[in-house]
Subunit: 138 residues, 2 copies
DNA sequence: TACACATATGAGCAATCGTTCAATCGTTTC
DNA sequence: GAAACGATTGAACGATTGCTCATATGTGTA
């Protein structure tokens, strides 16, 4: 399994992207490269995590976790942001199927679309070491 | 449970942050607000998700998931980025205890620090609908 | 000592993000 | 029809991000 490509000036370019980076264990590198998710998958993943990387959107999600289904103005009030900001944020969440809308007259009621988000949320809270977590069984 | 605060010009400001947003169900809003994670918790959460919101860092994590423990230059080669970019990225991951370093001579070997990340990763892949996922049991 | 090497880091810059402001759309009420 | 209202959207602007380039640090080797 050892292939030693690190003797001097013995530079091997592995990825098309990498501009000749030297490698110590070429087999391992090649194996890892083969196992990496596709570019598209990585992009989607990054996109989803990016959605959760904003306090405002996180509060929105947390509110929906607790409140079940809420209109935009209540969500805005509960999460402490303007209705415009909330609407922009909900638009992003909607585009990636994190939340769903139900329209009734001039109101728009939002709710979470799938349970992955709750798990993602709780798992991440576990990671950061929560001192709080009242969204148990709303 | 219904409190009707939405009759005209009857605007109630709930959060200190919110600049008087009207509310349709004040009780619900108040309850949801009480249940929200603390500001600090939300910030930490957003920060952690932010770490995972970059394709380069995601590939790094995926590589470590598969490869176990790898040096910076192998990680750079496997994930298709420059060593500088990889080092910068690993620094961020290290600061938030997502990865750990082991130094041996002039090499630095990185590995994942906790299992939450793997779960986060797999859960998110489930959400986006993976067409790929070869990081099963490196 | 001097050099090569693996890694780390700071500055700078282009790109992206999140907010606010203003305008708009569709619905309800008068 | 007109006005009020909830929600949506686009533009603009400041803040943040992630890269590259250049340089620094520390280790192994001649």
């Amino acid at each position: 399994m050892l292939v030693h490509v690190n003797s001097r000036s013995n530079v091997v370019s592995i990825a098309a992207d990498a501009c000749s980076v030297s490698v110590t264990d070429a087999d391992r590198v090649a194996a890892v490269q083969r196992a990496l998710p596709s570019e598209e998958c990585v992009q989607n993943l990054a996109h989803v995590f990016g959605l959760l990387a904003d306090p405002g959107r996180l509060r929105l999600i947390s509110a929906l976790l607790e409140g079940g289904e809420m209109c935009v103005c209540d969500l805005a009030a509960a999460t402490g942001q303007s209705m415009s900001a909330a609407s922009h944020a909900l638009r992003l969440l909607r585009a990636d199927r994190v939340v769903k809308v139900r329209r009734a007259g001039r109101m728009a009621y939002y709710r979470l679309a799938d349970s992955h988000v709750r798990m993602l949320f709780d798992l991440a809270i576990t990671h950061v070491g929560h001192e709080d977590g009242e969204h148990g069984d709303g």
